[in-house]
Symmetry: C2
Subunit: 200 residues, 2 copies
Amino acid sequence: MPGRGRPRRFDRDAALRTAMRLFWERGYEGTSMTDLTTAMGIGSPSLYAAFSCKEALFREAVALYNETEGAVPRRMLHEEPTARRAVEALLRISADAYTDPATPPGCLVVLGAANCTEENQGVREFLAGLRREDLAMLRARLDRGVSEGDLPAGTDTTALAAFYNTVLYGLSIQSRDGATRTELHDIVDTALAAWPGQRS
Amino acid sequence: MPGRGRPRRFDRDAALRTAMRLFWERGYEGTSMTDLTTAMGIGSPSLYAAFSCKEALFREAVALYNETEGAVPRRMLHEEPTARRAVEALLRISADAYTDPATPPGCLVVLGAANCTEENQGVREFLAGLRREDLAMLRARLDRGVSEGDLPAGTDTTALAAFYNTVLYGLSIQSRDGATRTELHDIVDTALAAWPGQRS
DNA sequence: CCATTTATATATCAACCGATACATAAATGA
DNA sequence: TCATTTATGTATCGGTTGATATATAAATGG
């Protein structure tokens, strides 16, 4: 039921996608409400009525990002048969996504609130929490590799997960600096040489 | 010769160090002129008279950062006898510096203008240029390792340098997220396992 | 038809941004 | 002494920030 009052003139989902795109491209503080309302083609009271405030809009946009952009890497992480292949798929898919010319370079969760003001520490902590979740998923996949026997028992999965997570962070910055897809995959090649038991 | 007019009431070098510290902590756009003048204890016309404008002050502060904080890693990179030991020293010293409680976490050159506004693209490009210089120095050190025989002939030094550079970028973000010194060194351990010929 | 509800458009709000105008203070050179 | 030069303190500039007050438009329920 669409309710009683005057119907909304714009598509809320489309507006949210627009916000995701802008925040992805320019970060939280780098995107102004005027940028958003202009890109959405609506007035600022309409935006506030639909999304409460800038921070709420950002959180909703990031949630959308996490559901859409994060779906493929998450699925790969689970479906690939070994930990090694899962991590390689994660890195390769991320490298491809970060250099997709149809979307802004790098990861919104990593870059969206890099050095933001103290007054927006809540936004920063929100993204940091998502990063911790991603790290935990990666570590869990490595632990699964140990329990399934494709990773040596006694592997320091915490350190290994932290390492590949760090590489992913670095890839985001590299893509922002204009690194090509090939360059990122070359970096991934080297990173995979650090895999336990690997000969480089 | 201190010149003719009324002498400056404040220490320009100390003010520059204050600016470096603030920019390091909060980034270019995250630091306001009011933040700067307050921390320096001077009025805004004095700041403008001494440093022209915000961007010029930032560039000078970053130059100071590069000279001071960058000195030790640069020296290690040159003085360590092998490429492998040089890279390890670079990573370890950076990990220590990024987690030094006396200074802000992470690297100013990496984090100082992460997703800044389009109108400040000049600042972003300035830092990107410094990062390219650092990358070139790292690659040159690896090339030296090849010519001196401690790295196998045919080693892809470009890819290897890009990889360790990427790890350094990632370490900056990790330290911003509150990673401890031990955690960073564990990541460095894993990164070094990717070294050519290494058994991990 | 009309009360109610919701969304819109216009016009702003106070706070902060980077940057200056202006008058005054404090030094030097002649 | 006094013109010149430079720096300082105060007050403020126009512009932008995130967020609203207000009045009107457009739907539903009775």
